[in-house]
Assembly symmetry: C2
Homo-oligomer: 186 residues x 2
């Protein structure tokens, strides 16, 4: 099973990048984790550009298509989704009839230096992914005070949070298994 990790923060040493790697270390051996590292290259969605999508958009869509599941780790900007992450979802969701997000298992977690761990951003991202047709795990993982949340090996210091992350990942992978069973029957 191929899990694609996507960080909503673009900076090099972001807490959400850390959170993705903490998640990767909790995945079972049958899952292969890759982090998508070219989110910044995706240009603004413009309907006029749809007939010939830029190469960065094709790359992003292909990465989603090849993944069995996507794990988003997102900060919160102005009480909502970081604009560039939402822009990437907007491109991936089009054209609606053939979007690579359709029925794609996805989960959303997030780290934030705030007290609330970015729950609004995570909720809005789940909503947008659902609107685009993805199968979204209906749970959240708000990692608050992100600057102090990880140990020197990049693991979550809070054991309960770590268990919760593991459980969200298990649900995400179950969704993949259910999908492949449906595909075998269909």
């Amino acid at each position: 099973m191929r899990v694609l990790g996507v960080s909503g923060s673009l900076r090099q040493t972001s807490h959400n990048g850390q959170l993705l790697r903490a998640a990767a270390s909790l995945l079972p051996p049958e899952a292969r984790f890759t982090e998508y590292e070219r989110l910044k290259a995706i240009p603004p969605f413009d309907e006029d550009d749809e007939p010939s999508p830029p190469a960065a958009v094709e790359d992003w869509r292909a990465a989603i298509a090849e993944a069995d599941a996507i794990l988003f780790a997102t900060p919160e900007y102005n009480s909502s989704i970081p604009g560039q992450l939402k822009n990437a979802i907007d491109w991936a969701s089009r054209p609606f009839k053939e979007t690579v997000l359709r029925n794609k298992p996805a989960a959303v977690v997030g780290a934030s230096t705030s007290m609330f761990g970015g729950v609004w951003s995570q909720a809005e991202l789940r909503k947008a992914l659902g609107a685009a047709g993805a199968r979204v795990v209906d749970r959240e993982l708000p990692v608050a005070g992100a600057q102090e949340a990880f140990d020197e090996h990049g693991r979550l210091l809070d054991h309960d949070l770590s268990l919760e992350l593991e459980s969200i990942l298990a649900e995400l992978l179950d969704e993949v298994r259910q999908r492949s069973e449906v595909a075998l029957k269909g």
Copy 2:
């Protein structure tokens, strides 16, 4: 009074561009309307780029700083704000202590080809603007079925919607007047 119009849609002949121009024609003579046309040039927000913001970001921030009020007209993508518009808000909101959005009067309207006129996108945009410190008119103008909403002169065909738009603009300009009274007293 200088009103800056910002369309959340980047395409050339967008319904939201039309809606901005319909709004401009309803403004009183003392208001001067300008449409911001360089939203697409704003690069993805990346905290690593903050120390030396790209020229397109400086241009956007200056346009906001020079305006007395901002009118946003936005479509709805995946039940939320178009990514690139949110990205522009993210840049404008930083650094938080000196954001050009602080106390800036703003209103949000929107046109959409859907039945609901993009109310979720408008609500989320108001929330994000409020989080960034703007003074947001707490009303919405959902122009549904946008492809049939305007006459050949670009006016809203629905007279009630047009009156509502005029009333939202009046509230926006009142906010500007109240701010300048506070400034005179202060």
